[in-house]
Symmetry: none
Subunit: 150 residues, 2 copies
DNA sequence: CTTAAAGTGGGGAAATGTGGTTAAAAAGTG
DNA sequence: CACTTTTTAACCACATTTCCCCACTTTAAG
């Protein structure tokens, strides 16, 4: 179970050092198996253990090809995926320029544990998400939250 | 049952000393089990015994991933959670810089018992919250308060 | 007033993160 | 096809941070 938000920095080569805490969590789920880094339409990146990503990817690929919206989601989610065979000896992974650009990643990025996977956000993007979450409490209860009491 | 508001101070390292009274209350509910500290969209933090948080977290994770509002709530509530395995030998917990920033915590913070959990607020945030509660009495009775007589 | 418990702050060791350097591979060119 | 040049990936060493524990100060209770 991946959880928690950490602020990290991309170095000059575009490498992202995964904190030891999250590295251990990844290792306990994925072992030495590869990871998948892909783009999310909301301008963040998704980091999955390959085994967890495959069934999701397969479902996505089965979505109808002749619905424009389905097809473009498919393109972003599946088309952008990068396989990470292993982290380097210092526990870092390389984020390709294309993915960095997609998520507007600069020096400081946020790594967010979401249970089955991690999300990687730019500072500005994550700030926007927090604002959206606040707005989501106005008006109707969003779907899925009707029975939840904090 | 957690109750009452206490004013506390974060030390220079971002550590929060839980008062002995609340520490005992936590221990009687959670025992030696871990605690969970997470962010609330309204810019406070939530402190739950892990056992009480898990069912809530699981419900949240089941909310739809392709509804923007649900997804951003999910991101904040689940993505921000930090597991506190144990308090240090002086009964303190470390609030990560990310969570401190989220709730705008400075030196003085307020710890508010809310039955099943505690909320942690900045002074300014708590003041704002009290103002909002006053406004909530204008106009219609808020949902859930129709049958309550004080 | 004495004693014990709780709160506060600081110091040090170990683990973690950062940047640079070297070696290998791939791509491009004559 | 061979050689050169550029890019990519792995490794190593230093700097930094984090966490844990100890000691002091303060507050409350007997």
């Amino acid at each position: 179970m991946f959880a928690g938000t950490v602020s990290l920095t991309l170095d000059a080569k575009g490498r992202l050092a995964i904190p030891a805490r999250h590295r251990d969590a990844l290792a306990s789920v994925a072992g030495d198996a590869p990871l998948v880094l892909t783009a999310h339409p909301q301008r963040c990146l998704l980091l999955y253990p390959l085994a967890a990503w495959e069934p999701i990817r397969d479902k996505i690929l089965q979505a109808p090809s002749f619905d424009a919206r389905s097809q473009s989601l498919k393109r972003v989610l599946v088309g952008s995926q990068q396989i990470i065979d292993a982290l380097d000896s210092a526990g870092r992974l390389l984020v390709t320029p294309e993915l960095r650009e997609h998520a507007n990643l600069e020096k400081t990025v946020l790594m967010v544990g979401m249970g089955s996977h991690f999300e990687i956000w730019s500072e500005a993007g994550w700030k926007r998400q927090n604002d959206l979450a606040l707005e989501a409490l106005q008006g109707d209860t969003p779907p899925g939250f009707e029975d939840i009491s904090l």
